[in-house]
């Protein structure tokens, strides 16, 4: 009885060592009697020391990285890099339809300042490349004059009495020329058709 009481007292004074579950040979120190040093973690000192070492190192590493990136970017020949890129292969992988579907063209155009854009465009080289003669050739002037007010403009600007009289005289003369020519051909009956115009003028007419 006395022996059991002493064992209990010693057990309180000297508790058995607690062993770690993962490392059974490691003995975890028992908590001491609670006191004023409870809030001080002895590892904090080590952490503080390591922070003082790692923070400048991290800054140094960042600066070194930025410097290296600058050097690499400066050393890069972007043109050569772009030349190596196979744009066709790149573009073939782009789904343009899907891209365009997502594009709000109206919103895009709203943001475009056409006046500023046109002010920057040099229209002369563009117009130099336009074949105006070809465009004019495609215009049906007769239909244009008949259907628009252009006829009135022409009539008021050029339709003087003199021009009307000249037109009438020339038209009449040409009509009589053709009338006489028809009768002459009926009489002499040429074996081959006569040329209508000199060769150079026929070629010019064909080209126009």
């Amino acid at each position: 009885m006395r022996q059991a009481g002493l064992t209990a007292v010693f057990a309180l004074l000297d508790p058995p060592p607690v062993r770690s579950a993962s490392h059974p040979w490691r003995v975890i120190a028992p908590d001491l009697v609670p006191g004023h040093t409870d809030c001080v973690n002895p590892r904090d000192r080590l952490r503080a020391v390591s922070r003082r070492v790692t923070d400048p190192a991290e800054t140094l590493a960042q600066e070194a990285t930025e410097r290296v990136i600058d050097l690499v970017v400066n050393a890069l020949d972007v043109n050569e890099l772009a030349a190596r890129i196979d744009l066709n292969a790149l573009l073939s992988r782009v789904d343009v339809d899907a891209l365009l579907k997502k594009l709000d063209v109206d919103a895009l155009l709203d943001q475009v300042d056409l006046n500023a854009l046109l002010a920057r465009v040099d229209l002369k080289p563009v117009l130099d490349r336009v074949d105006v003669n070809d465009i004019v050739q495609q215009i049906d002037m007769a239909a244009l004059v008949e259907k628009t007010d252009l006829g009135a403009v022409i009539a008021s600007s050029t339709g003087g009495m003199t021009s009307e009289a000249l037109d009438a005289v020339r038209s009449g003369a040409v009509g009589l020329d053709k009338f006489v020519d028809r009768w002459v051909r009926r009489v002499i009956r040429p074996k081959q058709p006569w040329p209508a115009a000199p060769a150079a003028l026929l070629t010019a007419q064909a080209e126009s």
């Binding site: 004059v145 006829g151 037109d167 020339r170 009589l176 209508a196 115009a197 000199p198 003028l201």
Partner: protein, 178 residues
């Protein structure tokens, strides 16, 4: 008034060989113009002589000097006009011009040659002009010698547009009044 179809046909005649009527009408106008200018020039000379010397100068048709000057004037009138522009005032009115046989612009030398050989066509009662009717390129004797031809050159397209414009204007006036 010409019809639109007729006007379209006229447009296509531009550059074609001119016929006898147009050429004869042009020559008639030129003859009137050149004679009038010659007469005005003689009148001006007479007036000048009278002002300066006080003597009246009368020009007689039978005067050989006047006849020679008139012939020279005719050469100058036609030769100069053909060499400079390929057309005389009468030809300009009728819308015809002289070109080389191949259709290119007539050089001054050929124009002068044409004016020099032009009288040959009047010989033998004007038989030289028969070529205008029966030759396949409507070339007279002086054309064959000088290597020239006469073609229509008036701006038939502009005339056609003027015609259409007048038609449109008349139609609009009809609509407005009706």
């Amino acid at each position: 008034m010409s019809t639109p179809a007729r006007q379209d046909a006229l447009v296509s005649y531009q550059g074609h060989y001119a016929g006898a009527v147009s050429r004869f009408a042009a020559y008639s106008i030129d003859l009137v113009v050149s004679t009038a200018v010659f007469a005005l020039a003689l009148a001006a000379i007479s007036w000048g002589v009278r002002i300066i010397t006080g003597h009246d100068v009368s020009w007689n048709r039978s005067n050989i000097v006047v006849a020679v000057i008139f012939v020279i004037w005719q050469f100058v009138y036609f030769g100069y006009c053909w060499a400079v522009s390929g057309r005389t005032p009468g030809m300009a009115m009728l819308g015809i011009r002289v070109v080389r046989a191949d259709g290119t612009i007539l050089p001054p030398k050929q124009a002068i040659l044409r004016s020099l050989v032009f009288p040959l066509s009047f010989l033998l009662f004007g038989l030289g002009f028969i070529g205008i009717l029966v030759q396949h390129e409507h070339r007279a004797l002086h054309d064959l010698i000088a290597g020239s031809a006469v073609v229509y050159s008036w701006d038939a397209r502009a005339a056609h547009l003027r015609f259409l414009a007048r038609q449109a204007e008349l139609a609009e006036a009809d609509i407005t009044s009706g």
